[in-house]
């Protein structure tokens, strides 16, 4: 007995349903479209929502990039990519943000601005930003319908009273097209401004919670904030007031991962976006080559 799988693993009816749900999601920006969500051969919570979108939308000849935490080579990204390659014959994969038609990502949006002809799918563990103030989905649906986000704003206000700071670190509630507030998936606050007026279509898929939603191209995306307490992204300023740089490529404008050098015991920072880091390094190299060449020419 051999199990042979259809293109994109899912049966045709399932793919059709996902496509139609995605269309609806684009038509109602930020609205969480319920869909039946099939079981995938990897764990719920490992990106099965994003994966179902990818498998349903990706076509032959298209080029895919899969990242997890900004890295193409993290265990989960590798696993997802090889599964998609196995079940979607005739697609190409890449690690270059530039070359990808289609990007599936967990927890990050690439540093490099995306283009109109690109599409990014974000994997979502909790689709509903109201879950932190209301556990019942039935009640949350009503709050969304009425655009009633007062309890979320109260939560932000209480944070400021208690901690002098809004404590939501990632999954920052963001209002789309002036109505629905979404959970933008666990991207850091750093990536939230990239949702605003993005040229690329952003699709969000929650497999376990069975929801698809979207930030269509060129749509407003505003993180919740107050007039006197603006939204702030993670800052990477050191004690001397300097912006920390990536230890590897020297970039001072990217989201940094922090870890401890096992040899020296010192804290080290590196770009979280691996492709961005590589690109900075290669341009740096070619610039220094240019410089050398110029020096040679001048000398």
């Amino acid at each position: 007995m051999s199990a042979s799988y259809p293109f994109g693993f899912l049966d045709e009816y399932a793919k059709k349903e996902v496509r139609r749900s995605a269309l609806k999601a684009v038509a109602i920006p930020g609205y969480q479209v319920p869909y039946s969500s099939r079981e995938m051969p990897m764990g719920r919570g490992f990106g099965t929502g994003g994966l179902q979108l990818t498998l349903s939308l990706l076509g032959k000849g298209e080029t895919l990039k899969v990242i997890d935490q900004g890295s193409d080579d993290s265990v989960n990204a590798v696993n997802l990519r090889s599964f998609i390659e196995m079940t979607c014959e005739g697609i190409h994969t890449t690690t270059r943000t530039d070359e990808a038609d289609f990007i599936q990502s967990r927890h990050r949006i690439p540093e490099k601005p995306l283009r109109e002809d690109q599409l990014i799918v974000l994997q979502v563990p909790y689709p509903d930003p109201l879950v932190i103030v209301e556990p019942s989905e039935d009640k949350r649906k009503m709050l969304h319908g009425e655009g009633d986000y007062s309890r979320l704003l109260v939560k932000l206000y209480e944070d400021i009273v208690k901690f002098d700071e809004i404590t939501i670190s990632h999954r920052y509630p963001t209002r789309i097209n002036g109505h629905y507030v979404i959970d933008p998936s666990p991207i850091p606050r750093w990536d939230v401004p990239k949702l605003h007026q993005s040229p690329a279509l952003i699709l969000l898929g929650a497999g376990r919670e069975k929801k698809i939603y979207a930030v269509p191209p060129y749509t407003n995306a505003e993180p919740l904030a107050f007039d006197d307490v603006p939204f702030r992204t993670e800052d990477f300023i050191d004690k001397t007031g300097q912006r920390r740089a990536c230890n590897r490529c020297g970039c001072t404008s990217s989201f940094l991962d922090e870890f401890v050098d096992s040899n020296t015991g010192e804290k080290v920072y590196q770009c979280s976006d691996a492709d961005w880091c590589d690109e900075q390094r290669s341009t740096e190299k070619s610039e220094s080559i240019d410089l050398e060449e110029r020096e040679v020419a001048n000398g």
């Binding site: 049966d11 349903e17 850091p188 050098d261």
Partner: protein, 392 residues
Amino acid sequence: MGYVAIKGGSQAIEGTKAVFDYLRTRQSNNAQPLDSDTIEHQLRLLHSRVISEGGVYHPKLASLAIKQAQGDTLEAAFILRAYRSTQPRLAETPILDTSKMRITRRISSAFKDIPGGQMLGATTDYHLRLMRMDLLDESPERFHAITKNWLSERTDTDIPDTFPKVLEGLRKEGLLPPINKAERSQQAFDITREPLIFPVPRSAALATMARAEQGSLLAIAYSNMRGYGDVHPTVAELRVGYLPVMLPHPITGELTEIGEVEITECEVVAAYDEQGCSSVAGGRKPGATEGDGSKDKPTFTLGYGACFGHNEVKAVSMAILDRSLQKGMKDGPSNPSEDPEYVLLHVDGIDSMGFCTHYKMPHYVTFQSDMDRLRTTQQKQDQKQNQKEQTA
């Protein structure tokens, strides 16, 4: 220093697959690989559990899933469920009549003497849980002799083909609410094709529980039994056996038996209710759906549980939760077991184990973001403290 982030993923994954498979095979030199028939028969109840939670009646693939998952029920059910995603839904059976089941076990704890009689069948309920040391070193001869001896002592006429349902008697006496015909004619909710959007019909709740993880169902049902709820059930009937599956013949359209599935079915009777709880799904107005004169008489209420395979704890738990959820849908939940969102969104083993497992994945970015918030908060509070000290 190189790029330390999470490099080497592909190699690591291949490595872990290899060692996982190695652990399956490291036994002595004369070890035999498990074959799927052995799993289906000698690990019968494990097999039942996986087929039920996997939600596809495919005994052979269920055995394979158990072998592949090295006995992990959650993992095995998961493999089976994922296989299901590749299969289109081709047809839908009509409502199948469980009184036509080929019974292997049926009991009632409500009545000593039920029509057709009690039939204990295969159960561990009355076993002393003492170690059977003789099984430690069982010879193939003795193993085969057990089947032979057991069969030689039976005759075909020992067991009737079918048994009447215990509930029929109670219904005739007017102790149960009449069958809700409106509910019966409704199309059953297909949880594999539609997401649950609350409030959901009872058929959606039953379907969700039928493939739920046994331990999760048991835990929530147990909370109800212990006092976070008030179902106080009596098992009117519990039956295990093979249910004929009927589909219309492709040419004549006549209902034809296409095979049978092993199922466990349980009906519990619970404390009586003024209007009869079963009219809930038909409408909130008391008695509005029933046309006969008995509508105002108090009756017992019912809970129903059924699942693939031989899983009695699951069927009983499900029946109790069906009853508590009906109450919650009618009057609003007053404890977790009566809350449809609480119960139905937390009992699926594939969902819950998947999400639990995902916490082992890297969360570097979100944790970085968390640290940023904590450090900023600490800084701000330090500044405040300093200011206070300066002014003091």
